[in-house]
Point group: C2
Chain length 393, copies 2
């Protein structure tokens, strides 16, 4: 499944041009076309020896994040991937093997391949097993950062199934009642097909925000609001994003779990969910967990663990009946009384889908530092064409 398939999809007709992550101030951004950008990232990966098939997968996952308006997980990560290859943390010729296969479950050893390559293989197996058994679960060890989790869940949706993806990741988040980075942002992504696009796409870090949000705020010179980050003494901090990002990276601050500090507003729930994701995708898979999980640019293989599951709707109900029921459900949500401070009532996935449609029709805005870094990287690894700049509109 590559992005061409989305291209013709009809989305929400009410909004013709929607930007979840508007390129403001516009002088800081360049526009690029989706096709150019994907080809450019593909060529960079080819330039460091990644196979054609694998380069396509990694480029596809990265560029989908930019299309969805999740630039923190988009092509700005390319240099890390290249660096991971150079350091030997990413094995570009992995022997990805199913090491356990029991009924509707399997365990895959990713042999330190790209998380995206391992993830696509694992979700394919989960889909196949769900078609046969109704539900499935595939766990993965010895993998790397795999980009946006919802990519894999979306693979299931294109087959008419529900997809569930989760992963652990390197330490950033404090467990409830503690003050250190211990858990990853350990996201959960669930995608559910609808009769017409957009599908339902729930993709959420189990922390209040992913660290990428602070990276973007830092790039934009924005101020971090109160409630996202805690310092080493357990006090909530806010303000200058660049300074806070450095504190988090040094380990002098930690992201807060969904539900925030302490138990009053549910910090035990967010950190409990993250802990469960880690126990299943990290502990049960045989991967590393919590603060042991490495980074792609670390000094050893990251050994990230993933979880993939698919649910065969037709095992329980005809697709047609399910789609009818989902349409009614969504109609009811949209008819609720809107909060006076809210712009709109959103179904999970709509913002990403509309942004994708807008960006496919027009351009993907890249922050100039991201554009410049990408082009520099391209030159270094021998990409011999120029990534064309488009008008931002």
């Amino acid at each position: 499944m590559f992005l061409q398939f989305y291209y013709g999809c009809v989305g929400l007709v009410e909004l013709d041009f929607y930007e979840r992550e508007p390129p403001i101030p516009s002088e800081d951004y360049f526009g690029v076309s989706f096709f150019d950008l994907r080809a450019y990232v593909y060529d960079i990966l080819r330039g460091v020896g990644v196979s054609s098939e694998d380069s396509r997968i990694v480029a596809d996952v990265l560029v989908l994040a930019d299309l969805f308006g999740i630039s923190s997980h988009g092509v700005q990560r390319t240099w890390r991937y290249v660096e991971g290859v150079k350091r030997g943390n990413v094995n570009i010729n992995p022997d990805i093997r199913v090491i356990r296969d029991f009924g509707a479950t399997a365990l895959i050893d990713g042999d330190n391949g790209f998380g995206q390559v391992v993830g696509v293989k694992a979700m394919r197996l989960a889909i196949e097993k769900a078609k046969r058994f109704g539900v499935s679960m595939v766990l993965v060890r010895n993998s790397n950062h795999f980009g946006i989790a919802v990519y894999y869940s979306l693979m299931a949706v294109f087959e008419g199934l529900i997809g569930v993806t989760a992963t652990n990741s390197s330490r950033l988040v404090a467990y409830v009642n503690t003050v250190e980075r211990f858990l990853g942002t350990n996201p959960i992504a669930i995608a559910i097909p609808k009769r017409n696009p957009p599908p339902i796409l729930f993709d959420a870090a189990t922390s209040i925000i992913p660290v990428g949000r602070i990276e973007i705020y830092s790039k934009k010179g924005k101020s971090v609001p109160s409630g996202w980050v805690m310092d080493g003494r357990g006090e909530i901090i806010h303000g200058d994003a660049k300074a806070i990002l450095e504190m988090v990276e040094r380990g002098d601050a930690a992201l807060l779990p969904l539900g925030g500090l302490g138990e009053e507003l549910g910090g035990h729930k967010g950190s409990g969910l993250s802990f469960i994701v880690d126990l299943i995708s990290g502990v049960l898979s045989g991967a590393l967990w919590s603060f042991h999980v490495g980074e792609i640019i670390g000094d050893r293989p990251a050994n990230v663990g993933h979880f993939f599951s698919a649910i065969n709707i037709e095992a329980l109900m005809s697709l047609n009946e399910f789609f009818d029921r989902v349409e009614r459900y969504i109609g009811e949500v949209k008819a609720l009384r809107r909060h006076p401070k809210a712009d709109r009532i959103w179904i999970p996935g709509e913002k990403a889908w509309l942004t994708m449609q807008t960006r496919l029709k027009t351009r993907i805005p890249l922050h100039r530092t991201v554009y410049n870094d990408l082009v520099r990287l391209g030159r270094e690894v021998g990409v011999d064409w120029k990534l064309r700049k488009l008008s931002l509109i």
Copy 2:
């Protein structure tokens, strides 16, 4: 699996007497023994014609909630169950049937039986299927309120499996960017076995708090803190719990999802999770969903939908290796730097388990209104013995 099995379990040795929900002020509480209380609820159910087997199940689930210190889901609900039987919303002779069976999945029609009776049957099937296929999913339609979700997940733990339970429920919670009650508190409960008790028990409403918390605050005359509830104009309210409870019941206020009001601290994540729980346990099961879901004391059958899943650890890893890894994980959590305002670093389930051990050894504290209501109910349905009061300590 009845509660006798827990009785001999060794728990955390550090805390000999722990109360998650201390009976304060003590003059408002009576103590009762676990065995007496379970027998009393059993006899009440027998008194309204429920079969011996089913009365045992319902009493067991209710009393486990009281043992765990979750009194909102405990025997204080007995009168609702009896009322549900009297109104015909609960069918005490249900024909609980598997209406679809496909590989590792099944769909059960609960025929409006007690949620507990249907739930135990459904989780038994999920366990059986997980043993055979590695993972399983059983959905349920035409059921009722089933008490604490973690009861069913714990059934899987007693078989050495991981248990996952979720359910929809009647409307109490606002979807993000809206101001009305629409979603239920739609809890997710995941139980993971360990070498020694307590198992890991994660059981969380997808709202910040379950409504039962406000009921208890109301009983105790406590003040609701800011952040749990929103009024019909979308403003956060706090203060007198009795007044707020009445507003929620009338529909003039709604509980907030995990993550709170709006999107800044993740209200879209909590309400998104709740929405997903509803789409799978309500929509895909063929049950009712969101504000359509009835109550056991309503004017028609509730048609609640449930989700049950089990994961066979040994499909992926030997139990012994898994237990070793979990022990190391928990040791690492316990060794983290504690937040200066936190009493202790807790693993999900520890508070409930310690409270159970304390209450099994000593007594279950019942609020005097709960005790009095229960005894009145007992007399009404012909229970001919007195529920003995114990000293509170």
